[in-house]
Amino acid sequence: MSFRKRSEVLGAPGGSPRVLSRGAGPNRTPQQPPLARGITPRDVRSVTGGISRLSVRNTPELSPVVTKGLELDASHPGIRPSPATSQPATSTGCRDLDKTLGHMGLPIGQTLLIQEQGTTDFSSVLVKCFAAQGIVHNRVEGSNAFVHGNTHLVVLTLNQFFAKELPGVYQGSRKDVKRSKVSLTESKITVQNTLESGAAPKDLKIAWRYGLNDDSAKNSKRSEADLDTYPNYSHAFDITSRLVPAPTSAELTLISPNQPLDAVLSQLQTVFQRHDKKLIRVVVPNLLHPVMYSPEYSQLPVIVPLLHGIRSIIKKNSERAVLISTMSSDLYSKSGSQLVTSIENMFDAAIDLEPFPQEMSQFLERVYKSQPQKIQHGLVHLMKLPLLSDRGEMHVRRSEYAFRNGKKKFEIEAWGIPIDDSEVQESKGGIENSDSSKSQTTVSLDF
């Protein structure tokens, strides 16, 4: 463990041992000289990040428990501990969804169902972001990714073009592009940079102290710190663009759901065996979609074993697998039917999207005439949250959140019916604005 000393010198005041666990990834071959591998840009960042967050959770991360699970978790760019349970979680590719789930992501080993009412397809945006996020994580390592990689995507779909439809990373406004360039040069290893990073904690500490008095400032600081600690954890996706180059079979496996159950399960298992060192993100889009699934699947004795089998595989690999699934619930939520409840039961987490009916949309359009970017598209009902619901916490929240689908992100925010009266709107709009912006700052930061 020769690199240990090296990093201690680097982050002198904090001496954050987090670097150790984060650096000790499986993708780094031990033959690599410690000097070269010890100071990758990410590690430098994580040193500063670790200190700026003033986190004191060093000891547990040092423990050799990591070796039991797959070591990739510690260094994987798309994995961070959940603030709620400190279990590792991965980003869903939608920052607001990450936050809504209560873990800043979907905890590894958990499964999420997104139901959608009506005939709209907002959930597909979430699915595509989830898929694209996996691919982006995989490519963090650069060209190495295609050979080794850290993430693999499995999609249960008939859509052969799924890979080509994934959105690209949001490039941001000109300012953002500039900022990213700066950070790129900063991260280059120069003597100056290492010195700077050593001095950073002091400044940040002061900023932190002042920040205590100001909520929003604190929030933004904290999320910036999060971004520093987990620079490649979560990205914003531009749904109008395409991920280039499109993922290849090395990054993505398609499995047809339209085949016997055991075939589906064994193919899924094979993927897990073949990519035994990677995080596997499983996507089951449009579950029970009539075009993709034959009518038999609507029978409980067919769909329940399928989901039970898939759940079993995820749980068996619970240290490196996540699953997301969507279904249109209107088709199957006939009164007296057990289907939707039974499917929900098979998932650890479930949310329900309810797009606004026409009148509501028109109302919102009228109210937010001057701020069209504030128009929400529907309600988000929470049914179950990962890990938390399973241990008995009650997290059913209906009509408390609303979503908005924009070009660069899918937003989820607290829902309140805006006031229609235009005069009241004038005076109150400002307050509401600042309220919502305050609560949203943590999420809507662009970079």
Binding site: D262, G309, S312, S335, S337, M394, H395
Partner: protein, 275 residues
């Protein structure tokens, strides 16, 4: 609410959760736990295991630190252990929770019918699978006095059988093997039962209702978990209602104390209050 008096969980009239009377020789009893969306029963399952192992639900109502502290100072009673068999959660789900409660791993056994159940049993004749399940679970009765079955009703769909077959070929023989059987069922589907009785029930729903009703008539007590009708609240997770079941306990010196608790599950602890 934080001021509210915490309450001990009591199910039987001798102020116990699981009365020793239940474990009298040659007697067999059933408890039925129902839960709905939003009120997962895992804390209650853990509390029942803890009760079986330690004689009382030690960590219920305690803050986590206090519970762990207390747990380390207690001695284990000589009662037999508990077995939990789940069709929806894997072994790790229970072991990690019970480990946190410092329940000695020697004192319970988890049977995992989640992992690979479909891979192992898909396409096999149902009665064969049921008899192998029965055999495996029966073996547990050598060391366990309490068997907790979580969501056995999934077998109706996993094996495509009727609830009657499930009861006759699995539940009934298991009742015979164990002094106390706890059936934990997910009853969210009931929320979707058409209120108009003239409307025809779907056959899935009929099976579900038949399964639960049968469980009800077999049980001495029903522990019903449900969220508040008003939805999410920050200081209450839901209610736990303890009611008499369909089976008579007149042959015992104890009876079921009907009660309704409010409970709050947060982090890894659950607290009970009176309504």
């Amino acid at each position: 609410m934080s001021m509210a008096q915490k309450q001990d969980l009591v199910i039987f009239s001798d102020h116990s959760v699981l009365s020793r009377e239940l474990f009298s020789k040659d007697l067999h009893h059933v408890l039925f736990v129902t839960h709905k969306l939003g009120t997962s029963p895992s804390w209650l399952i853990n509390a029942l295991v803890e009760t079986q192992v330690l004689g009382f639900p030690a960590t219920l109502n305690e803050s986590h630190a206090a519970a762990v502290n207390r747990a380390s100072n207690r001695k284990i009673t000589d009662s037999k252990c508990a077995t939990v068999a789940s069709f929806i959660h894997n072994r790790g789900f229970f072991t990690s929770a019970l480990k946190k409660l410092k329940v000695d791993a020697e004192c319970y056994n988890i049977i995992d019918y989640m992992t690979d159940f479909v891979l192992k049993n898909y396409g096999k004749p149902a009665s064969k699978v049921l008899s192998s399940l029965l055999e495996e679970l029966s073996n547990e009765s050598a060391t366990s006095e309490l068997l907790i079955l979580e969501q056995p009703e999934l077998l109706v769909h996993l094996l495509n059988i009727t609830s009657d077959q499930l009861h006759l070929e699995l539940i009934n023989p298991l009742i015979k093997k164990f002094p106390l059987l706890v059936v934990v069922s997910y009853t969210e589907a009931y929320e979707n039962v058409p209120s108009d009785s003239n409307e025809k029930l779907s056959s899935d729903m009929i099976e579900q209702i038949r399964f639960c009703n049968s469980c009800f008539f077999k049980s001495a007590a029903v522990l019903g978990l449900k969220p508040l009708a008003t939805g999410h609240a920050s200081d209450v997770s839901g209610t736990l209602t303890i009611t008499r079941g369909g089976a008579s306990l007149s042959h015992l010196a104890v009876h079921v104390v009907e009660n309704e608790y409010l409970f709050l599950t947060q982090k890894d602890t659950t607290k009970l209050f009176y309504r």
